[in-house]
Amino acid sequence: MISLTYYLILSAVLFTIGVFGFLVKRNIITIFMCVELMLNAVNLTFVAFARFYGDLAGQVFVFFVMAVAAAEAAVGLGIIVALFRNRQTLDIDSARSMHW
């Protein structure tokens, strides 16, 4: 029997990798993928708690998170395409018009 702690630690590791990639990577698509990875780490936490507390609410929440992630991916990739059309690059450092 695997205890809850293992799932939570795997989730923490995945989330941390996502945070690290978000901060270090400079390709905007890769950064976006790291956000998806963080969402997945949270989903894993939800499912683990749903299992160990015997409550289905966690799994229902994962369903909603997935819907939000799908919406986010559609709009976010639309933004990336628009950004690329204006700047001809995917480097995040080039998007600095709001930077002082």
């Binding site: 029997m1 695997i2 809850l4 702690t5 293992y6 939570l8 630690i9 795997l10 923490a12 590791v13 995945l14 989330f15 941390t16 990798i17 945070v19 690290f20 901060l23 270090v24 990577k25 390709n27 698509i29 890769t30 976006f32 993928m33 998806e36 990875l37 997945n40 989903n43 894993l44 499912v47 683990a48 749903a50 299992r51 160990f52 015997g54 409550d55 289905l56 799994q59 229902v60 994962v62 369903f63 909603f64 997935m66 819907a67 939000v68 992630a69 799908a70 986010e72 991916a73 559609a74 709009v75 990739l77 639309g78 395409v81 628009a82 690329f84 204006n86 995917l90 480097d91 450092d93």
Partner: protein
């Protein structure tokens, strides 16, 4: 046996996640992320969350990642250039800080949930993950959030169309 499968799947998931960072070309990062998602789906099946596992495959690897790969190919994304000299310290500073964050979170988890390890409620041990039960919850107790989600998806459709317009 159960623990062994979890360790294998967890290693694949973490390895795929690390591979996202290591790969320089976005298409390889996307494929690594798909590997992570599929490994997570396996873990969900192990936790008797079959519905979520199938949704993970269908939505994440089937829809979202196809969209990512489509955009990568549409924009002809290239390999990431080497970081500028002034920014190189971020890598060296970020790695220890990330490891510190992971250790910190793991420590809190150990402290807070050390006693909860085995408290699996027996009544739901077999029924959780039952797709019918989730559907019932979704259409009774969570009906309003479910309907709001449909509005969110509608807004996302409109947003994606607006973003893809020629003149922005």
């Amino acid at each position: 046996m159960e623990t062994l499968i979890f360790i294998i799947l967890g290693t694949i998931a973490a390895g795929g996640a690390v591979s996202i960072l290591v790969q320089r070309h976005p298409i390889y990062s996307a494929l690594s992320l798909i590997l992570t998602f599929i490994a997570l789906a396996g873990i969900y099946i192990q936790m008797h969350a079959e519905f979520i596992a199938v949704m993970q495959i269908v939505i994440y690897t089937g829809a979202i990642m196809v969209l990512f790969v489509f955009v990568i190919m549409l924009l002809n994304a290239r390999e990431e250039p080497a970081p500028r000299q002034a920014l190189r310290f971020i890598n060296y500073l970020g790695l220890p800080l990330s490891i510190l964050l992971a250790v910190q979170v793991s420590f809190v988890v150990f402290r807070a949930f050390a006693g909860y390890g085995i408290s699996l409620s027996p009544s739901l041990a077999n029924s959780t993950g039952n797709t019918a039960a989730i559907g019932k919850e979704l259409y009774t107790r969570y009906l309003l959030p479910f309907e709001v989600t449909s509005i969110l998806l509608l807004v996302a459709i409109i947003g994606a169309i607006v973003m893809a317009k020629k003149e922005l």
